[in-house]
């Protein structure tokens, strides 16, 4: 018992030695690394979403030019008898002068004028799609001919881009599609209240448009195509997946065949999605002879892709139902099939539906296999209503995004980002439904 004084005790217990300090510092560093990693992960998510939203939100607003157009009977209906056949003979070009006159009159009425612009270059402010829209409206209701009707016409893509910051006076100098004078005119029209901007409903309803008319491009066909495919996926993969899971979880004996199925399902879940596209192309299109770009092919391919997801989720849900439920049913004389279908399956249903919705959400965002089965085609016609519509060419939301990224005009990047926002909103809704289902109906045994 020499010198274990209070002094040494204090030193060893209450103050850290150099070694302890080093170890504690390394502990803090390690913990910091963890926090940094989490921060980077969350920042990546935020950065991804901000980038998409900042470039895409503007696609939900659209610049319009509102004009009172006199639908001149001398030009649209030469016979004067309002016969739809003769009216239909007037092509889109026949409507262009009407718009030019209407714009000229409107500018004169409001006293708007810019040096160096004639009627034609002033009318270039209006989208090339506008005469076609006008023609469609007239054909739908020929009684309007001879009247003066108020129309909201799409502004050209460059003008639209000017108000979204994509086009500036400086860039217009170099641009063959738009001149600074036209932009000045646009500004004056805006103050005169002829050029307005409003919510872009046609973005959700209009079909795709050609390379030179980004302002008219919409998601109508893509949304319908995606909806058709999701319908097919839901109708096929839910019963198939549930049936397969019930067999594997409740009935399958332990043997080679069962093992083979299990291994197959596990592997299919890991096969790259593009391989399913190859399967669709080689088997469904070439061998069976289904049409290209049709929602039915996309739906079948996506069904095969989602099946493993649904089976895995369903099996987990079935497994979570405690054996006592089955035992009780069997104990009062139910057959195994009755115990499964009357008791286990209803109890597992919330879990199954949650898994199905998550599988559907994955299928909705899938792009690669759809590229191979021809869904990238330029489709302007709406598919018919089901069941024939399943065989009509259509597009799909993610493929439409890809399609627009391959176009030259930068306005399409805005549209693509806008389409992604639409896609993400759909996905968010589906996942919210899944979460609510789980929260509300999930039982803890």
């Amino acid at each position: 018992m020499t010198d274990l004084t209070a002094d040494t005790l204090r030193r060893t217990v209450l103050t850290d030695s150099a070694r302890i300090r080093r170890r504690n510092a390394s502990e803090r560093r390690f913990r910091m690394l963890g926090i940094i990693a989490v921060t980077i992960g969350v920042l990546a998510l935020i950065g991804l979403l901000t980038s998409i939203f900042s470039s895409g939100l503007s696609s939900f607003r659209q610049t319009y030019i509102s004009l009172d157009i006199y639908l001149d009977p001398a030009k649209l209906d030469k016979d004067g008898d309002r016969n739809p056949a003769t009216i239909a003979k007037v092509s889109t070009f026949g409507y262009l002068p009407l718009i030019e006159t209407a714009l000229k009159d409107a500018m004169a009425a409001k006293g708007v004028a810019v040096e160096g612009l004639n009627a034609k270059t002033a009318a270039a402010l209006i989208s090339k799609e506008a005469p076609a829209d006008l023609r469609k409206l007239v054909l739908a209701d020929p009684a309007n001919i001879g009247q003066t009707v108020h129309f909201n016409l799409l502004a050209a893509g460059r003008i639209d881009g000017y108000y979204k910051g994509r086009v500036t006076m400086a860039s217009a100098e170099l641009d063959s599609n738009v001149s600074p004078e036209q932009l000045m005119l646009a500004d004056k029209l805006k103050t005169a209240g002829i050029l307005t901007s409003s919510f872009n409903w046609s973005f959700f309803t209009a079909p795709d448009a050609s390379d030179t008319r980004p302002e008219a491009a919409g998601l109508g066909v893509a949304i319908i195509g995606s909806a058709y495919m999701m319908l097919i996926v839901l109708v096929l993969s839910l019963p198939l997946g549930v049936a397969a899971s019930i067999y594997l979880e409740e009935f399958a004996p332990q043997n080679r065949f069962t093992d083979l199925i299990e291994v197959n399902i596990a592997n299919l879940a890991a096969v790259p999605s593009i391989v399913f596209g190859i399967l669709g192309l080689a088997v469904l299109i070439n061998f069976v002879g289904l049409p290209q770009s049709a929602p039915v092919v996309g739906g079948l391919v996506l069904t095969l892709m989602t099946l493993p997801t649904i089976i895995i989720a369903t099996r987990a849900a079935l497994k979570a139902v405690p054996p006592s439920i089955r035992d009780a049913a069997l104990g009062v004389g139910a057959s195994k099939m009755q115990a499964t279908f009357h008791h286990v399956l209803p109890l597992a249903m919330p879990g199954i539906l949650t898994g199905t919705i998550i599988g559907l959400a994955r299928a909705l965002g899938e792009t690669a296999p759809l590229l191979l089965i021809g869904m990238v085609a330029f489709v302007r016609e709406y598919p018919r209503s089901p069941p024939e519509g399943f065989f009509d060419p259509a597009s799909a939301l993610p493929v439409q995004v890809y399609n627009w990224t391959q176009r030259g005009d930068p306005a399409f990047i805005e549209r693509a980002s806008g389409a992604i926002i639409v896609l993400l909103v759909f996905l968010l809704c589906m996942n919210l439904i899944a979460v609510i289902l789980r929260r509300r109906f999930e039982r803890r045994w």
Partner: protein, 486 residues
């Protein structure tokens, strides 16, 4: 009859069968004064199942087989002379189908009737203008053989559809009547219907096997015909990828494999440290509240469609890397590059690494940690020296799974990595991958006659084998080296 109507009729028959079967069982039991073996509904079920299921299975099989049979038959009718120079038989067949459709449309308009049609001949009537009236545009004049083939095609399809309708109705009604008459009070209806349902369940679970067979068969079959046209050792060992659609292409896979591995490597370099540290932080440090926020936020990354990442690479990260790093430092001028695709893909696979590793770290028993703490180890020392070694096999498995994801990923590389096949070390250069080339060689193509399109199947097979191999390896490592704790 239309297929939709047939299905509807069969469904009605099934419902009817159920009601009648149930009623018959009840009335027979009452008449004979005996108890039923099963609940009355099961008698109805047997009738309904026999009425609907076999007929529908035949329908599906028929719809698959009929077009193929007619196609071969009609295709045999077209002599080689009717095929224009430089055209393909399948193009003529497409014409045949369009003409047949057009004829249907003409008939539907009432322009002519069945007997007039069978007398109509391509050399007397102007078929082309006739069809143009109903909105079917044809590229050129219709040769007699093609028109005759179209008429046969139309006739055969009609006969086939009639046969199908008759067969379906006969089967459905026949089997329904048979099982209806079979009903007797002591019939074991529940066993019959349960065996039937069980068969259906087994059939549903074989879909997975069929899909795998379909994938492997289509890949192997087309790859085989590719290697008949193009030497295999060139494909596997040549370092040049230069497809020419006029023939004489060089299709070496090495530059594509190099691009794939390089991009995946960058992705793993991004994702593995981040994912692992996130998993460690979540499992060992974060409290329940922080965990309940961070874990879903990270997992959202896995739920975002890959096209979104692709667009992010194309619009944001690619130009950023080019303008701020590559160009000032003189590494290159391309906005699509290995680094762009790799980083974005790395972000995408973070949740794969972190979620799996999180589960695995959580599965390491608390006793191991407690033992280390008792010896005076700090938390990080425990993690580095006790938890990690115990969790290592599982983590390696998770990393391999993430690698297989990265190799098979398509949209990010299509939009972010570029399309030029190069063997280069510069990560700021555009390179391409196996998946990109599958897309570019196959998009919108259905003529599998040239090595340039068939090569996509060889690439697909390579990809399939690679990812499968990685997955099997991951499973093997996890199984073999897993520590068993009681």
């Amino acid at each position: 009859m239309n297929v939709g109507i047939i299905i509807l009729v069969v469904a009605v028959l099934a419902v009817l069968g159920y009601v009648l079967g149930r009623r018959r069982a009840l009335s027979l039991a009452a008449a004979r004064g005996r108890k039923l073996h099963s609940l009355p509904g099961y008698y109805g079920q047997t009738v309904a199942l026999f009425a609907a299921v076999p007929a529908l299975l035949v329908l599906v099989a028929w719809l698959l087989v009929q077009p193929m049979l007619i196609e071969t038959r009609v295709s045999g009718m077209i002599p080689d002379s009717a095929i224009p120079d430089g055209g393909a038989r399948s193009l003529v067949m497409a014409d045949v189908r369009r003409i047949a459709e057009g004829l249907d449309a003409v008939l539907a308009q009432g322009g002519l009737d069945e007997s007039e049609l069978s007398d109509m001949r391509a050399d007397f009537t102007n078929v082309r203008t006739r069809l143009a009236e109903v909105g079917v545009a044809l590229g050129g004049e219709v040769p007699t053989e093609v028109f005759e083939a179209a008429k046969t095609y139309r006739q055969d399809t009609k006969t086939g559809n009639t046969l199908l309708t008759v067969l379906m109705l006969a089967m459905s009604i026949g089997l329904a009547v048979w099982s209806y008459r079979r009903i007797a009070p002591d019939m074991r209806a529940r066993n019959v219907s349960e065996t039937f349902v069980r068969m259906l369940l087994i059939a549903a679970s074989t879909v997975a096997i069929l899909t795998t067979i379909g994938i492997v068969a289509s890949l192997v079959f087309e790859t085989y015909s590719f290697f008949k046209m193009y030497p295999a050792q060139e494909f596997f060992f040549s370092t040049v990828w230069n497809p020419q659609f006029r023939g004489g292409s060089e299709l070496g896979i090495l530059p594509l494999l190099w691009g794939t591995f390089y991009i995946s490597l960058v992705a793993l370099i991004v994702a593995v440290p981040l994912g692992l540290m996130i998993a460690i932080y979540l499992a060992e440090y974060a409290g329940p509240t922080a965990r309940s926020f961070i874990k879903p936020a990270i997992e959202v990354l896995a739920g975002i469609p890959t096209i979104v990442y692709g667009l992010f690479a194309l619009v944001t990260l690619g130009p950023f890397l080019r303008d701020w790093i590559a160009q000032p430092l003189g590494f290159g001028t391309s906005s699509s590059s290995v680094l762009t695709a790799g980083i974005v893909m790395g972000i995408m696979i973070i949740p794969f690494v972190s979620s799996l590793s999180d589960d695995i770290i959580n599965a390491v028993p608390q006793a191991l940690r407690d033992g280390a703490y008792a010896l005076g180890a700090t938390r990080s020392e425990t993690i580095k020296q006790v938890v990690m070694p115990a969790a290592l096999p599982g983590i390696v498995g998770a990393i391999l799974l993430a690698a297989s994801r990265a190799i098979g990923e398509t949209m990010i590389v299509v939009l972010g990595a570029g399309a030029s096949a190069k063997l280069s070390l510069n990560p700021f250069e555009a390179m391409t991958t196996v998946t990109v080339k599958i897309v570019s060689q196959l998009t919108g193509d259905t003529e599998f006659a040239s090595p340039e399109t068939l090569v996509a199947f060889a690439l697909g097979l390579t990809l399939f084998v690679l990812t499968l191999g990685l997955n099997v390896l991951a499973l093997y490592i996890v199984r073999k080296y897993r520590e068993q704790y009681e």
